[in-house]
Symmetry: C2
Subunit: 279 residues, 2 copies
């Protein structure tokens, strides 16, 4: 896997800006030779999940992941329960789609809270409950550590070490059902990255690998991710590390970008296909 | 120190947007009752450093730190040497100013490089050389880990663990001359923060403590830091940890903010004085 070809890659539909209906997106992703797709709940919920799953299979695509959890921490027990129930329904849809994992973006601080430790405790408690449901439905939870710049408002799990510690506590015997989604954009800066990737490999916790690039300068905290090769992340080295750690799934291209969302989808897909080969 | 009063605090002059000459800034900071100031090289270099140092002393202020190093990594040996020489001159000015430390913002990736490990090695090698100069002039180097969102373009030292590891390698016998600047904005998200503050205390490495706040949402990667109390950082808990770790210096208020830079300096200083008491 150290030379990527489109069939070893997945397109996360966020990359295309949710501009077309999911059916068209599935066909376009398959036509460009990608091997998998990662859809978002906004494209699935309220539709015929079974039909979408069939469409994806018929197009010859795997589902590298299903995006993504509702926040786990909340300011009231009622809200926490509602979010838990949303997540259970999404795990059920992930199972229907045959997704390799359900991506956990854990959520940040509850409203008006500065209690980051408390939020993290809520995440771990919530994941313990979700893990039962995930195992029952045979869908792996993939905890995605998000870049520390999102700690307050999106995700209080911010390093791979932290995510792997949670996996080890919730699944001490390596029974499975919980792992990590390693997104280059979120973790590339981490001095412990290499050893944490090795650790994740040894414990068979790598459920997903996401790629894009970090631009210099970055002009927006959320919507300025770079196309592969346009930034400073050493994706080649990371890819080798992930492969050496035993990950055999699809490398998922996920680019949130105002610039790329303004580009026609066919051109975005052509660029993705071209760039992965040059990593 | 767990209840802050202005005399236990320092004003980093960046907070005031460099709008007035340093002499006026010194007088204003003293008039508002602060106990220290942290000037920047842009305000000092090319001026009569000895006279500025006297002005600060006569105003009754300490110097909590001198900001800040030129980048250490570079793409050519010539540039690296030039930056080293700039840093040596700045350390000499820090000594003249009687600064509690010289703040090291290590620098990011050299031009066109994706080699983050290489940049980090350059930082450590460069610090080893600077440490000799710092010890000769009796100025402590304070390695400031910067938020991971600055890893590419400003500073490849991004966690307190990483900075402390460097201190331990360069000063294995605890002779001193090198420590860390702990800036709440850069490290508040770190799951290891509490244990790293304890570790820094045990090894007497805390050379500076900087405070401001993380706003939600944050609209700019550089210029949208918050006034104390306006964001989500649990400064109270952090302050207790830093005090328990034995830090007895001034808490330095450093706020880069387009919003606050547009406010008249007297009002900014009044707000700082008022807010520190409410931490």
């Amino acid at each position: 896997m150290t030379v990527l070809t489109p069939d070893r890659c997945s397109i996360n539909t966020a990359t295309l800006g949710y501009k077309a209906p999911i059916g068209q997106v599935i066909d376009a992703v398959a036509r460009h030779g990608f091997g998998a797709i990662a859809p978002w709940r906004r494209e699935i919920e309220g539709s015929d999940v079974c039909a979408i799953a069939r469409h994806i299979r018929d197009a010859g695509l795997a589902v590298s992941g299903y995006c993504r959890s509702s926040a786990i921490p909340a300011d009231t027990p009622e809200r926490r329960r509602a979010q838990y129930e949303e997540n259970c329904r999404a795990i059920s849809d992930a199972a229907e789609l045959g997704a390799a994992c359900f991506v956990i973006v854990a959520g940040g601080l509850p409203t008006d809270s500065r209690d980051l430790d408390g939020a993290r405790t809520q995440v771990e408690d919530g994941l313990a409950r979700l893990l039962e449901e995930a195992r029952r439905l045979r869908v792996a939870l993939a905890i995605e550590p998000l870049h520390p710049m999102y700690a307050a408002d999106r995700c209080c799990i911010n390093t791979l070490s932290q995510a792997l510690d949670i996996c080890d506590r919730l699944d001490p015997d390596g029974e499975g059902g919980i792992g990590v989604a390693i997104d280059a954009y979120h973790v590339w800066w981490d001095p412990r990255l290499r050893s944490d990737i090795d650790r994740a490999g040894c414990s068979q916790r790598i459920a997903a690998f996401h790629i894009c690039d970090w631009l210099v300068p970055t002009t927006d905290l959320l919507m300025d991710r770079g196309m592969i090769g346009d930034g400073v992340i050493d994706l080649s080295s990371m890819l080798r590390g992930i492969a050496a750690a035993g990950f055999a799934g699809h490398a998922e291209i996920e680019i949130f970008s105002n610039n790329w969302w303004a580009v026609e989808s066919e051109e975005v897909l052509r660029s993705c296909a071209e760039r992965v080969g040059a990593i």
